[in-house]
């Protein structure tokens, strides 16, 4: 059940001091959890990568190369050392903000990742903006017209959106709007027009999920007593929907949006391949192919950190919006 205005008013009451202390503890607790998650992801990535078959040194040399040359390159890359030694070295570097050097590019991983991150984040941002911008009005409309043609059409559309895989939507959009019409670029990031197709591709599935969340939240809130009271007092329907109902229905949306950041970052890997978008997804895919361990590790750590930070932020925002969350955590 969403928080009602009656509950919200208690937030300014005599318990404020205690709750402020509660927020601090809550944030600290979440922060520690976030650090643990990032460390866990780092460990898993490091060891899983090295369990996958594929010797980076062998991949960098031609077939006729003698074992002595291959061994020399392994030594140079540091892959000749036992795994625990490699791991300790890696962690030591990490504590100093050093993600190591790319095996293949001979450049610092941090530089490669920092160069690629803005493109991915920009794509993720436009995707979230488009998804929220489309999903909220559609969700509200579906709830307001519940059971009628508009609602059914929106639900059907969202079902279609959720069923279609991103790569299929992406390829279709490229064929229609780049190859046939040449309205938008098929590859790369050359300006605002380049964002259109990758953003739509990534946002399509997201819109479908968010529409359902908004609709469901709105339907629940619209059954509340305070909405009935507002209607009885003659508040205009539009005002009830947008001000009174949506404000409370938006709380679960915040949580869903936080979780969807992971989906957007994961989906970006596929979309970046289709559109040759110069982000971390493309960087990671190539690094996986060539067993460039430091680059894969760097990308995973950075993406995991972004994901964890966004979720931490969502948790904190949610705790502010809904005091029962942090009270639950305290108890």
């Amino acid at each position: 059940m969403a928080a009602t205005p009656v509950e919200a008013t208690t937030a300014g009451g005599p318990e404020v001091g205690r709750r402020r202390g509660g927020v601090g503890a809550f944030v600290l607790q979440r922060l520690l959890q976030a650090l643990l998650v990032i460390f866990g992801v780092t460990c898993v990535t490091f060891f899983v990568l090295r369990l996958v078959p594929g010797d980076p040194a062998r991949l960098m040399l031609p077939p006729g190369t003698g074992e002595d040359v291959v061994a020399g390159l392994r030594e140079q890359l540091g892959t000749d050392q036992p795994l625990p030694v490699q791991f300790v070295r890696f962690l030591g570097g990490l504590l100093h903000g050093d993600l190591g050097s790319s095996f293949r590019q001979s450049r610092p991983v941090l530089q490669l990742v920092v160069d690629a991150v803005p493109a991915t984040l920009a794509l993720a941002a436009t995707t979230m903006l488009l998804a929220v911008g489309v999903a909220i009005p559609l969700g509200i409309l579906a709830a307001a017209r519940s059971g009628r043609l508009a609602d059914r059409s929106i639900l059907a559309l969202s079902l279609v959106g959720q069923s279609l895989p991103s790569f299929w939507i992406g390829v279709l959009l490229v064929l229609l709007f780049s190859v046939q019409r040449q309205w938008f670029p098929a590859i790369g990031n050359t300006g605002p027009a380049s964002y259109v197709l990758p953003t739509i591709t990534l946002a399509a599935v997201l819109v479908a999920q968010l529409v359902r969340t908004v609709r469901q939240g709105m339907l629940e809130v619209l059954q509340e007593d305070y909405i009935r009271t507002a209607r009885a007092k003659g508040v205009p329907a539009r005002k009830i929907l947008l001000l009174h109902a949506f404000k409370n229905a938006a709380i679960p949306l915040v949580t869903v949006l936080g979780l969807q950041v992971g989906f957007v970052l994961g989906g970006a890997f596929v979309v970046e391949l289709i559109f040759n978008w110069p982000g971390v997804g493309l960087l990671a895919l190539e690094a996986i192919k060539t067993r460039d361990f430091p680059v894969v590790q760097g990308v995973v750590i950075v993406v995991a950190t972004v994901f964890v930070c966004v979720n931490l932020l969502v948790d904190v925002v949610y705790a502010f919006l809904n005091p029962r969350v942090r009270l639950g955590a305290e108890s």
Binding site: P185, G191, R291
Partner: protein, 538 residues
């Protein structure tokens, strides 16, 4: 001050007013929204307006070439044997002699040459050749480059390219004359020189680190921008053959073949590399682009582990495998300009002779060979193949398994892996697998490149150890006189076809997609690409 700068300033003023309480939060939000529309709107509209800017750039601007292989960060031309390295170096560096699209050799930095005796060659260099840094090219640079290529690397490191060379002493006669003398005659000399990029002696003396940082060749283009997935090459106006027609060539790595194709068809690329055979028809049907194809110098084969049972020292068993495969069907699966192989040497290679029998699918012959091999069917073994590198490799391997198991003569465990894992399998401890699908590309038309690595002992991962084959390969390498070499390679091809250390089934197709705006673009069967004579219509 442009609109964006004005907007930013207004926003800063509004923020200050908000902090001082002179502006309400609601008004501030309204202002921000208005700012978004005012600044972002025109930008977004400009972007959505048919991509005019980038279209114009495409038609009048640089040639955009999309490649299928990730770039190598090491600019030392002898520090790798990556195909993409040879491709781009072809444009950045020059060589004493140059391979042509028909695989013949023409003079390059050497105007002329003559053979003084069986082991000694003299080259007369082209005058007025400059490196990109302005330094003049002389015989000293040839000496430094050849010594580097043939294994005299500074810092005692053995460079990968040295495996292709026999060491030569290089004597500088004068600034424009140089003499190469080998310990033995070296048959592939001219062809090897055709892949020996000329570096500056000063750069070589600076050490390998220096060579790896930035290319400084005499080539028709010089490196202007060096990003991991994008290299921009600007025309070098002082090139000895005259300036190239193109002002700039942008090389971009795009790993997905469909994405490369989309870019070509959308008019965003002028040339795309490694077009898959099934994409050729799409390009042909499109407007504004065409597909060009050649049979390449790459041989695709099934390679036996020759030092492991059941195939070690058992040629009849290997022939039984060959007679159980429908090689023609495999070639048809791949399509394009792929050709059925009839020798271990691909069609464009020198001294190549078609061999017989053709090893067509013949179960009766397979049974007879199996009886001769002294083994009773079914013979079990593992076939390893890679996916995502050779077009249709999965289908080829699956067909091979189906062929081999059809008459209950063999029982095959098929292992398909992505490229890195497949390479790990080839060199893995305990030597997993007994038969492998793979290809071997040739950088020149000399047959030595085709046989020296995998068919001569120790044969890298193949475990080759046939003394007669070794002797013939060594003889071919150290014989200078062409007729004599021809006779050696005749005998070698016969031997290889009879012993079958590998079953070649196809000379690969090489297809590129080319925009109609591009003229004089030629495909090299060796997979290199040269942009010197290429032009782009506005």
């Amino acid at each position: 001050m442009n609109a964006q700068e004005r907007g930013t300033e207004l926003l800063a003023i509004a923020e200050r007013k908000l902090r001082r309480g002179e502006l309400g939060r609601r008004d501030f939000l309204k202002l921000m929204a208005a700012f978004g529309v005012a600044v972002g709107g025109p930008a977004a509209l400009a972007g959505c307006g048919g991509d005019e800017g980038s279209d114009q750039a495409t038609s009048a601007g640089p040639l955009r070439f999309l490649v299928a292989e990730a770039f190598w960060a090491n600019w030392n031309p002898y520090g790798h044997t990556a195909q993409i390295g040879f491709k781009i170096q072809r444009n950045l560096f020059d060589r004493l002699v140059e391979v042509q699209p028909d695989m013949s050799i023409r003079p390059g930095l050497a105007e002329s040459w003559r053979q003084l005796d069986a082991r000694t060659w003299e080259f007369k260099l082209h005058p007025d050749v400059k490196f990109h840094n302005g330094q003049s090219f002389t015989a000293r640079d040839v000496k430094a480059s050849v010594e580097l290529a043939s294994g005299h690397a500074p810092e005692g490191r053995k460079l990968p390219m040295a495996t292709l060379w026999l060491p030569h002493e290089v004597a500088v006669v004068d600034d424009r004359t140089v003499r190469l003398q080998g310990a033995k005659p070296f048959g592939p000399l001219l062809n090897t020189l055709a892949i020996t990029d000329m570096c500056s002696a000063t750069d070589v003396a600076e050490g390998l680190k220096h060579l790896e940082q930035k290319p400084n060749g005499t080539g028709a283009f010089k490196l202007a921008e060096d990003k991991p997935a994008r290299k921009v090459l600007d025309r070098f106006d002082q090139h000895y053959r005259g300036p190239a027609k193109l002002q700039q060539v942008v090389w971009e790595y795009i790993q997905d073949p469909q994405t490369r194709l989309n870019a070509l068809l959308a008019g965003q690329a002028h040339v795309i590399d490694r077009v898959e055979p099934e994409q050729v028809q799409l390009i042909q049907r499109s407007q504004g682009a065409q597909a060009i194809a050649v049979t390449s110098a790459e041989v695709q084969a099934f390679w036996f582990r020759q030092d492991k049972k059941p195939f070690a020292d058992n040629a009849p068993l290997r022939r039984a495998v060959a007679s159980s495969l429908d090689r023609q069907a495999m070639v048809e699966l791949v399509g394009g300009k792929a050709q059925l192989a009839d020798s271990q040497l691909a069609t464009p290679l020198e001294f190549r002779q078609p061999q017989s029998p053709q090893y067509a699918l013949d179960p009766e012959r397979a049974k007879a060979e199996l009886a001769r091999a002294g083994v009773s069917p079914p013979v079990s073994f593992e076939l390893g193949g890679s996916v995502g590198f050779y077009p249709k490799s999965r289908e080829v391997c699956e067909l091979a398994k189906q062929n081999l198991e059809e008459n209950d003569l063999f029982k095959v465990k098929l292992t398909l892996l992505e490229l890195a894992a497949w390479i790990d399998m080839l060199f893995g401890k305990g030597k997993p697998g007994e038969l492998f699908h793979g290809g071997w590309g040739n950088l020149t038309r000399d047959p030595d490149f085709a046989v020296a690595t995998l068919l001569h002992s120790p044969g890298a991962w193949t475990g080759a150890h046939d003394k007669q084959t070794d002797a013939l390969i060594d003889q071919g390498k150290t014989t200078g006189e062409p007729a004599e070499r021809g006779a050696v390679y005749d005998r070698l091809q016969q031997r290889l076809w009879e012993e079958l250390p590998s079953i070649p089934f196809m000379y690969s197709d090489l297809s590129n997609g080319v925009s109609d705006k591009v003229s004089d673009y030629a495909l090299f069967p060796t997979f290199v690409t040269e942009f010197w004579g290429v032009s782009l219509k506005a």
